[in-house]
């Protein structure tokens, strides 16, 4: 880099790269902090908020990774609908104080975190170990940009993945019916209570 710092073409790409990395780190920080809050905080409302934070940061990642439509989907469905559902349920159940004071037993947290840690280590080793190989697909970013991300998504969805698409719709209907049924007042699902 020569002084007085006039970025030429490859300098610009390099700076952009740095910028990207910094943005990634910030978003990663937000995601991890959100996760931590969800896992550790006593009161479920704060957990829900932590989770929303995490979801938003992930949608940011999607944008960075050239999947703007997915970022939008993430924000709308996850942050929007699912988390509101959670908040509603938490409000609905207005947990009394002593419900929340029950700290998980010392022993199980130690064991759980140890196991979790071992799992993390293994995953990191796998990532680092170069185990992952995959054959390159045909959708280079340039091609995607030229056609437009959403159009590409639609094109793939309705040709290769038509069957799964139909099945998913069916699953959603089933979930819908299930949730409604479960929600009914006089619950007589055959249970005695």
């Amino acid at each position: 880099m020569n002084f007085p710092f006039i970025p030429d073409e490859e300098d610009r790409i390099m700076i952009e790269g740095y910028m990207e990395q910094i943005a990634f780190l910030i978003l990663a920080l937000f995601a991890v902090v959100g996760g931590l809050i969800t896992v550790t905080h006593r009161h479920p409302i704060y957990c829900a908020l932590g989770l929303i934070l995490c979801f938003l940061s992930i949608s940011g990642f999607y944008a960075m990774l050239g999947a703007p439509f997915l970022a939008a989907v993430q924000v709308i469905i996850y942050a929007g609908s699912i988390m509101t559902l959670f908040v509603f349920v938490i409000m609905l159940m207005d947990l009394t104080r002593e419900d929340l004071k029950m700290p998980p037993s010392k022993f199980s947290t130690v064991v759980a975190s140890f196991l979790g840690f071992v799992l993390l280590l293994e995953m990191l080793m796998i990532i680092g170990g170069g185990f992952l190989t995959g054959k390159m697909g045909s959708w280079t970013p340039e091609k995607v940009d030229s056609v437009g991300h959403t159009r590409v998504l639609a094109q793939v969805l309705f040709t290769e993945y038509l069957y799964p698409f139909e099945i998913i719709s069916f699953v959603l209907v089933v979930a819908l019916v299930g949730a409604i049924l479960l929600g009914k007042k006089k619950l007589h699902l055959g249970g005695k209570e």
């Binding site: 995601a31 957990c47 990642f61 993430q74 759980a112 979790g116 995959g134 390159m136 799964p164 479960l182």
Partner: protein, 100 residues
């Protein structure tokens, strides 16, 4: 350019958080949230890989996972509400009727 391994390590951490949450927390709602967290970690990996491997399959999967997650949360929460009505508690340890 952010290298692929960063994304994967991040999702690993998120997954780790989800797993620990699932195992420790004594509140079913939080457990459900942790499941959501884990799913998102998986989504992140999918999108990252789909970006780096220039193939749309990853994003397709994410699309479906989101749908599944939505269905799952709705049904999960409905069950939790009923259990709450039943046992007046959200502690998973009280609900151990389904034992061998």
């Amino acid at each position: 350019m952010v290298p692929l391994s960063w994304y994967l390590s991040l999702s690993a951490i998120l997954f780790f958080l989800g797993v620990v949450g699932m195992m420790t927390r004594r509140n079913t709602i939080i457990m459900l949230m942790c499941i959501e967290l884990m799913m998102n970690a998986a989504n992140l990996t999918f999108v990252a890989l789909s970006h780096y491997l220039h193939s749309m399959n990853g994003q397709m999967f994410v699309f479906f996972i989101v749908a599944i997650a939505a269905a799952e949360v709705s049904v999960g929460l409905a069950i939790i509400i009923n259990l709450y009505r039943l046992k007046a508690s959200v502690d998973p340890d009280d609900m151990n009727r389904l034992q061998g």
